[in-house]
Symmetry: C2
Subunit: 369 residues, 2 copies
């Protein structure tokens, strides 16, 4: 089934820092049918470079980024649930971001776009949910940055969701996570074509953005998965070149993924969204993480993966322990995987079982009340 | 004591790929006194960005990179041993490398410099040892790329050293190690100032080299050491800037270390030396790693560190297991540390004990024969 991206325009939206964007567009997709009492809606939250196209096949033939988890009979079963996915604010896939035209100037916002936060992403999603006429979501779910949004939903809108599924994620970015993001930003900003963000209509900072993405890709894999996938295999040659072409398969893979990313992502969105992740600290403004999570009223399913060194298990446990200390309903699973952080996108089997059971149970508990 | 860097010029040196450099200079330092039977010489091998200045204080007041391990009464005790340290071929600290003048053209070699290998580094060091009149070293020792050179010494010149100490190292670079190096190279080569390597006398590719070094620094630390050192601490401010300045201390630290590196290292050397590391595979040309290490006749002390995820313990164990399978004399220690790969430079206490004991025992065994 071909999935179309829809769009809704809101007159204005004021971000946490106080700046107002007017108007704001939100790109979204939906899968499945909203039931009569509007109680079966699930909001899927995308990771850093994701978009609204989470499931199904787009007009140009591409499957959604979590198509293995969302669909008829899948983990997020669209025969039962109405699933919504939208592009985040600051993004470049239909929701207003730095590459959007600022009506006040007729030019792209570029670096005049206001700084954004994970909470801004969630607050704009809430406007979308209001617009769709849904007063309470059955669940919010996402991996990586999607998990941060899920946690923010549970705390900022405690009466608007019955369940929260943060996967391969964290309640606050660590120094190492900030460090890797900062390297990516510096790579983008070091590219003269970045031109202080004013590259629209000219050459985008492709070399810098490509290097940034290469770093990202390494952190999404694991030492073991790279060893299994590439090892020391040479590419289309028997002996090393001793020049600086891509001798090893891992080199050509990274170069390819880097250059591919340039065609599909906006460099300024890269800067704004990574900063939003780095600013994310659910405990900010509270005495502790536990007191912030105490606001949450929903059920939690927290999942991490053994080989994920970018969002390690200890970060998920920090969330779980904080929730438990406030007697919140939380289930936690660490799933075995060699795929590193990418596991949340590829380890379908066990995630499907966990998600399916958790959502059924949530539905049962809602009906019991 | 002020240590001076010395230099020796060899008429020519032919690298593994067949190219001949003429002449070749080698920068080196020595500490302590060579004894009468010339049996107390230890060759120290530097890591990627190191140089000949391993110990003591230079004329400009800087301590050597392993000064905490080399000196009177230290692990490599210069009251007992004659310690030698030289800059590697391809480097930029006095030994011939891409920034050196090619006498045939009167211009820097730049990218006409031949591709080099860890074995080339070691073969040139052997010329230095010959020149110093030492037929057999007591030991070769180094961390990281220094450990690769140590292993190469044991296999390429089995009758020229009595002991080998590879620390926080590997017998072959893994896909992940190659991947991180490739990101650094792409960052350098993406900088227009790199200009295909022809930047001498003009502006060096400082932005690219700085980004490359930032990536490197993250991989030298550990998640835990970064959490302890930086956490989410903001820099000289109470609230985030929401601009793209260095909000977090870890950001300003990395930016500083990146820019500092540009002042002291040559970008083309960065390319050549990282490639040499990536090409390193001690088993190349042999049926297995064990058969290559079977050539070695010396004693081994292999050390790794618990939090070193760049050169993880399993790589040291691969070397140890290969040596054991051929009944070679090998001691192995995994030392506890939070410092990640940097541990070999900062964990002085236990390393000192291990090195001191191992060297004494080696000396005893030599005298017993």
């Amino acid at each position: 089934m071909i999935i179309e991206t829809q769009s809704v325009r809101f007159d204005s939206f004021t971000v946490e820092t106080g700046a107002t964007l007017a108007p704001v567009d939100v790109a979204y997709q939906t899968y499945g049918q909203l039931n009569d009492d509007r109680s079966n809606a699930i909001l899927i939250l995308h990771a850093f470079s994701g978009d609204a196209h989470a499931a199904g096949i787009s007009r140009d033939g591409k499957p959604g980024w979590w198509d293995n988890m969302i669909g008829p009979g899948k983990g997020f079963d669209t025969d039962k649930y109405f699933v919504i996915s939208s592009n985040v604010i600051g993004g470049c896939k239909g929701t207003t971001g730095p590459s959007s035209i600022n009506p006040a100037t007729g030019q792209p916002y570029a670096m005049t776009f206001p700084g954004i936060t994970i909470r801004d992403m969630v607050r704009l999603q809430c406007k979308l949910i209001d617009y769709l006429g849904i007063s309470k979501l059955l669940a919010v779910a996402g991996g990586s940055m999607g998990g941060m949004q899920a946690l923010e939903w549970a705390v900022t809108f405690p009466d608007r969701t019955a369940a929260c599924l943060p996967i391969a994620s964290t309640a606050r970015h660590s120094a190492m996570q900030i460090a890797f993001n900062e390297v990516g930003r510096q790579a983008v900003m070091a590219d003269p074509d970045w031109n202080a963000g004013n590259y629209y209509g000219t050459k985008p900072p492709g070399r810098g953005l490509s290097v940034a993405r290469m770093v990202g890709h390494i952190t999404y894999m694991s030492d073991e998965s790279m060893r299994e996938k590439f090892g020391r295999k040479l590419r289309e040659r028997e002996v090393p070149s001793y020049d600086f072409s891509a001798d090893f398969e891992v080199e050509s893979y990274l170069r390819y993924r880097g250059s591919q990313f340039v065609d599909r992502f906006d460099a300024n969105s890269y800067l704004y969204i990574t900063k939003a992740m780095d600013y994310f600290d659910l405990s900010l403004g509270y005495p502790s993480l536990a007191t912030s999570l105490e606001r949450a009223q929903c059920r939690f399913l927290v999942i991490s993966f053994t080989s994920d060194w970018l969002y390690p298990t200890y970060q998920s446990l920090e969330t779980v322990n904080a929730l438990r200390s406030r007697n919140r309903d939380v289930a936690y699973c660490e799933l075995p995987s060699n795929y590193g952080h990418d596991a949340f996108l590829v380890e379908v089997g066990e995630q499907t079982e966990l998600v399916r059971g958790f959502l059924s149970q949530t539905l049962k508990e809602i009906r019991r009340r």
